[in-house]
């Protein structure tokens, strides 16, 4: 959704919300007409296609979630791979009828915490190591990367519970009631956390010189 997408505001985000809503509907029913618990049950009985369907369905939401939690794009591919390796291994232990999405997010969250602990001992790579957008002028590309890095760092500087709600509300477009089902935290608490996350981000980004321009009256 995001590769080669130059207007994430209009295209990427809208798409991700639609996808996430299809994935995390109250019954856990996905776009393929089969719910996650059913796919997991099929995978338990050795159906590899079911496992691959689960991976295809969840790899991008999990990657977005991990990215918001760690603030490190370089860590996301390996962490994402590890999440699905745990799904693979958990087939035998997975309870029939268990809620797949909350369990998956819990696995991702624990791995992100471990990575954060390790990350304190390992330096982050230099900014702008990814491929450059050939069509963009060098200066604009440089500014875009700097902005992306600073915003990612500002988000990563939030306490973890605030990052979780920010990721699920903003990136996945979930309602607080849906996030409450995923995380087991009351919706009212999540709403307060979301407001707190936005207030802190506003303040931090303002300090970094990314405050808003004056609104038109």
């Amino acid at each position: 959704l995001s590769a080669g997408c130059h207007n994430p505001k209009n295209v990427c985000r809208g798409s991700s919300i639609r996808v996430a809503r299809a994935f995390i509907s109250p019954g856990g029913m996905g776009v393929m007409g089969t719910d996650d618990a059913d796919l997991m049950a099929r995978w338990r009985h050795g159906d590899a296609a079911a496992f691959e369907a689960l991976v295809g369905r969840w790899q991008r939401p999990v990657a977005r979630f991990l990215f918001r939690l760690t603030g490190r794009a370089d860590l996301v591919p390996d962490l994402c791979q590890e999440v699905f390796l745990r799904v693979y291994r958990a087939a035998a232990r997975y309870r029939e009828g268990g809620a797949f999405a909350p369990w998956l997010y819990r696995v991702a969250r624990n791995l992100a915490r471990d990575a954060a602990r390790r990350g304190r001992r390992q330096p982050a790579p230099l900014a702008g190591e990814g491929p450059a957008d050939a069509a963009a002028p060098a200066e604009a590309e440089c500014r875009r990367r700097e902005l992306a890095e600073r915003v990612a760092r500002a988000v990563a500087g939030l306490p973890e519970p605030l990052r979780v709600v920010l990721a699920l509300r903003h990136d996945e477009g979930l309602a607080f009631e849906e996030i409450a089902r995923l995380t087991g935290t009351p919706a009212s608490t999540l709403k307060s956390r979301f407001a707190a996350a936005l207030a802190r981000l506003r303040a931090r980004l303002g300090e970094l010189g990314y405050g808003p321009e004056e609104p038109t009256p």
Partner: protein, 212 residues
């Protein structure tokens, strides 16, 4: 609607998700309140900044997952085989020690007695010793054979368990290998289809085949 109520709803409005009834009341409040309008503007600005940081486009490598799982299964099987071998060797050593050396272990009266080989043959009639301290008699040959049989069964059971686990691991590894082969074939089919499509597009665009 007061500013306090409006501030509570502004994050929902900025990030899309206000219910229509409250949304109308909020819009009406915003029309007359510059401070809340400014707040909304700032929240939308934060949302824009968040959207300007695209997450990495990640594709999970399913074949690598299967390979990692196969490697883990193989490691577990090796570990279990070593463990079973060590347990079997320990049991066999215990049998040899117990039977061959006529090992006798006695515990009681605040002491542990470990004795091997034939015990001293009593020549003189036993002195009047306190009955409470009398040692139990050496196990009869029939009892030793029974112990030997039980230990033999234990070793057999360990070996059978190791064999079962080996068979299960082999079956799992075979399944994983089949999955990897299927994935490879699927990739090859997709690749050749993509090549055909590219060739067809090239021919349609330039009126000749690639390389002509």
């Amino acid at each position: 609607m007061t500013c306090h109520d409006a501030r509570d709803l502004l994050p929902d409005l900025a990030f899309g998700g206000t219910d229509p009834d409250r949304g109308k009341a909020l819009e009406a409040h915003l029309a007359g309140c510059a401070a809340c309008r400014r707040e909304l503007h700032e929240l939308r600005h934060v949302r824009g900044l968040l959207a300007a940081v695209p997450p990495p486009d990640v594709r999970v490598d399913v074949a690598a997952l299967y390979r990692a799982a196969a490697a883990r299964e193989a490691r577990r099987a090796r570990r279990w085989r070593r463990l079973a071998l060590a347990a079997g060797a320990a049991a066999a050593a215990a049998v040899v020690l117990a039977v061959g050396a006529r090992l006798e272990v006695r515990v009681g009266d605040r002491q542990v007695v470990l004795r091997w080989g034939a015990g001293p043959t009593p020549e003189a009639p036993p002195a009047p010793a306190p009955v409470a301290h009398a040692a139990p008699p050496l196990p009869a040959p029939a009892a030793s054979e029974e112990q030997l049989r039980l230990l033999g069964e234990l070793v057999d059971a360990l070996a059978a368990d190791a064999r079962d686990r080996d068979l299960r691991t082999r079956a799992e590894l075979t399944r994983l290998r089949t999955l990897l082969v299927e994935l490879g074939e699927r990739d090859a089919r997709r690749w050749s289809a993509a090549e055909r499509d590219i060739d067809a597009m090239y021919a349609a665009q330039f009126g000749r085949k690639k390389g002509d």
